[in-house]
């Protein structure tokens, strides 16, 4: 178990670092998919097979395909790679790297304090996830449903088609 975790975690960390440092956006997105898949494996290792499958279906499968779809539609070629190289100067890395080091230090300190030891991995079946989602967490589910509803209404508004006219001369004059 421990060995598998370290291998997967190493892949996750490496691929996430690659996401940030690639100049070609498509390669960065591919590394992001690998990173999401390794997170799914970690979920599975620690007894959450349902979460692992959803991570792959929703994040690696659907959202990433949509992002790649739009990147393809924009057709970012070598030109954008050149621009990326211009923008990502070493100076740009300073502030984010500093903040990351602070966060990492905090994390290491907290782990070293050993307040929340991970003991006794218990498998959470899909049934239990469903029970708790529609039991104690029903409010959160309903709220996210409302958020999605707002998204759908917004998408409908944006995608609404104007009534078609046969010819531009036949269009009614805007009053």
């Amino acid at each position: 178990m421990g060995v598998f975790f370290y291998i997967t975690a190493a892949i996750a960390v490496f691929s996430t670092a690659m996401v940030v440092t690639r100049f070609n956006i498509m390669h960065a997105l591919l590394y992001l998919i690998v990173s999401l898949l390794s997170v799914a494996v970690i979920f599975y290792l620690y007894g959450a097979p349902y979460m692992a499958s959803l991570e792959i279906i929703v994040y690696a499968g659907a959202i990433m395909v949509l992002i790649i779809f739009f990147v393809m539609m924009l057709n970012l070629g070598p030109e954008s790679t050149r621009l990326e190289k211009q923008w990502l100067k070493p100076g740009m890395w300073m502030a984010p790297a500093l903040f990351c080091v602070i966060l990492l230090g905090e994390l290491v300190y907290l782990i070293a304090q050993n307040h929340t030891p991970v003991t006794g991995i218990k498998e959470v079946t899909p049934k239990e996830v469903g029970r708790s989602l529609f039991g104690p967490y029903i409010l959160a589910v309903e709220l996210s449903a409302m958020l999605l509803m707002a998204g759908i209404v917004g998408a409908y508004h944006l995608g609404r088609q104007q009534p078609k006219t046969l010819h531009r001369f036949l269009q009614s004059k805007p009053s």
């Binding site: 659907a62 393809m72 899909p126």
Partner: protein, 316 residues
């Protein structure tokens, strides 16, 4: 399950699936010919069976050309994705009692996850080719697969509600008193249509539409990489057929005069033939018609199916 039995199952599944994929090349050409009143390949060997061998040898010895303008790593990587994801999906299918590679408690979800991974081979292959027809094919593929995946998952949930499990072996066992094709016939049709769209077979082969896009996303592929894409497609047909059989037609269940594996293979074979018959008989819809059909008809229908199934399950 002992280790020996386990390795035997893995080896057997791999052997049968890969050979089925090769054999389907011959079967498809012969059946298409039959339905179109021709002979098809009938010269080499008995019934022209050696055409498979000839095709394979030809594919292996063809020049494997990587275009200089392509993104090389992604171009090579893309055909492997579809084969890997389809082969991984076969791990969860129960071929007979105790003949399953991984008796996974989220089997149905694993199948959905792997089928959503398969999209990347089209998308990445089309993008890495750096060719306008390939790119158009890839974009069509991405939008088609994403929209058909949504209600593929939703149509499966009817079966999950009835059997109360994501585990495919338990779903088969729950069909002892009646196959799910009767209570879930709407779900079955939606799943079958979505499955054809997922494997991008003929009525839904919009990503490769040869009459408009040269060969779509695999225009630039040649040699064994082209072969990999097609092996992936034929294995996808086998996968969708065996999923349909497992979920709606009782899997390995059948009268006792034949062993369970034979029942499973027979039922799967019927659906493979249906796939080939569809190719022989259906015209290709226009791209916007395909999307409209998916989102305006099949998606609401699968939601209604899910609601009614849940209500019935709640009341009985």
């Amino acid at each position: 399950m002992s280790t020996g039995h386990y390795w035997l199952v893995i080896g057997g599944v791999l052997f049968v699936i890969l050979n089925t994929a090769a054999g389907l090349i011959w079967l498809e050409r012969r059946m298409l010919a039959l339905w179109q009143d021709r002979y098809g390949p009938n010269r080499a060997g008995p019934f022209g069976l050696f055409i498979v061998l000839a095709d394979t040898i030809k594919l292996f010895f063809k020049e494997d050309w990587i275009p200089p303008f392509a993104d090389k790593v992604v171009f090579v990587f893309a055909p492997a994705v579809v084969v890997a994801s389809v082969l991984l999906s076969f791990t969860i299918i129960p071929f007979a009692p105790n003949v399953v590679v991984a008796d996974f408690n989220v089997g149905v979800l694993f199948f959905l996850a792997m089928s959503s991974m398969g999209v990347y081979s089209i998308v990445l292959g089309g993008w890495a080719s750096n060719n306008k027809y390939a790119l158009l094919g890839a974009m069509r593929g991405a939008s088609q697969m994403i929209s058909y995946e949504v209600f593929m998952g939703l149509s499966l949930m009817g079966v999950v509600i009835l059997s109360g499990s994501f585990n495919l072996s338990e779903i088969v066992a729950a069909q002892k008193n009646g196959w799910y094709i009767l209570p879930q016939c709407v779900g079955f049709f939606i799943f079958l249509i979505a499955g054809i769209a997922e494997t991008h077979r003929l009525p839904f082969d919009i990503p490769e539409a040869e009459s408009e896009l040269v060969a779509g996303f695999h225009s630039e592929y040649s040699g064994m990489k082209f072969g990999m894409i097609f092996i992936g497609e034929y294995m996808g047909i086998t996968l969708i057929s065996s999923m349909v059989v497992t979920l709606y037609f009782g899997g390995w269940l059948g009268p006792a005069f034949l062993p369970p594996v034979i029942w499973f293979v027979l039922k799967t074979f019927v659906f493979i033939m249906l796939f080939i018959l569809l190719r022989a008989s259906m015209p290709r819809p226009r791209y916007d018609q395909l999307m409209e059909y998916g989102w305006k008809i099949l998606f609401p229908l699968s939601l209604v199916n899910l609601l009614i199934t849940a209500a019935i399950k709640l009341l009985i």
